[in-house]
Amino acid sequence: MTRDRDLELTLEGWLTDGPARMPDHVFEAVIDRVDRTPQRRLAGLATRYLTMPSNRIAAVAATVVIAVIGIAAWGAFGPKGSTVGGPPTPSASVLAAAPSPSPSPAASVQPIADGLYELAPMQVSDLVATINANTKLTAAEKTFLIESAFAMKGGKTITFSLDFNRGRFVERQDVDGAVNIGTQGTFSLPDDRTLILNEQCDSTCPPLTFRLSATGDSFRLQMVDPPTKEVDAIPVRVLYESGPYTRQR
């Protein structure tokens, strides 16, 4: 024990020695880079989403495990593999999660072509009024949404866009011509009714999965298993679910 304490004291003393001031060139370099770096307004939705209660995470994980087992069982004992007693009947949830055993040719068609898609412009005053009238939000959360997440304080019109290009997406928000990047990352379309966004973040972010309904040059999204906290759910509803998104180019 004394030996352990000696080591701790030695480390404390040794670590005290060393540079104590940030050099000016580091500060100047940071300021220079900050001047050229736009803020991400809705970044980290997926990171905040991680804060959901652990029992909810467990429930989601259990659903995924059941779906995977169901898919495996379907492959092993489905109509082609089963010879005794007929195929087992998968539960409704498994059927919903499992891909079709023989996908139609249409499933391989990209449901969303690369391009820029926009929501119809919204009046900032309407969106602010809706947020302020929401009784599930605290005053701090209202301020956060209006001034930080959407950065629309004092604006008139806000327009959201999603830009898809070669597996990458960028979400932007335009308030009276001032454009911010909300979030960005990679996307995938595992089938013609599912869009998965993988936000770029500093830690591991869980993918955001949406049900997709595409029609011609427009599409609508509905998040699978949306966040339960109102302050997290509002960006999802406004940004992703208030469609349709219509192709601009």
Binding site: L15, G18, I31, P38, L42, T143
Partner: protein, 183 residues
């Protein structure tokens, strides 16, 4: 007040963010230096962390968590920097000491060199744990929050980091005893 500065910076005020950096810069720089033990790498890691913090600040819902969040970004940037390919040893610069030490005799210098080499034998994660505990004086719960791990895991890893440091120093002792100089 800091909370006002954080809220202003979160809304896009670059001057407010510059003020926040001025207030915290020295401490964060010292943290990065002690984890990485390399002036150039610490410069790079701190710059990266502070730019990422600016970029992602609007996503920080609770301004009161700014400091823990910023520390987390700096530690992560240090770990990322440490895992990059090592630069040529000749490019390493000796850490300057701002505060002169007293009793800096031959033995103290030898001890410091021994500690330096022993510390460099640790993994970057172990170094970060020891710096957060013994330089910043943080409790395991705070370390857990900064590293994004459970408190029990932080305690366990801290214990293993101490053991690793002890083993590294013992290895240094053995190397000196046989007259060799460790790499």
């Amino acid at each position: 007040m800091d909370r006002d500065l954080v809220e202003a910076a979160r809304s896009g005020d670059r001057e407010a963010y510059a003020d926040l950096i001025r207030i915290r810069g020295d401490r964060l720089y010292a943290l990065a230096q002690r984890i990485l033990r390399d002036v150039d790498r610490a410069d790079d890691a701190l710059q990266d962390a502070l730019v990422i913090a600016w970029r992602d600040l609007p996503g920080l819902r609770d301004p009161d968590r700014f400091d823990a969040w910023l520390h987390r970004l700096v530690v992560r940037a240090c770990l990322a920097e440490a895992t990059r390919e090592r630069r040529i040893v000749a490019h390493l610069r000796v850490l300057p000491v701002d505060v002169p030490t007293t009793g800096d005799d031959f033995h103290a210098v030898a001890d410091r060199d021994q500690l330096e080499r022993g510390f460099r034998r640790l993994t970057p994660q172990q170094r970060a744990l020891l710096v957060l505990r013994h330089f910043e004086g943080r409790e395991p719960a705070e370390i857990a929050e900064i590293l994004g791990i459970p408190v029990g895991t932080a305690r366990s890893r801290l214990h293993h980091a101490h053991r690793a440091m002890r083993a590294a120093l013992d290895a240094e002792d053995r190397a000196i005893a046989v007259g060799g100089r460790p790499a």
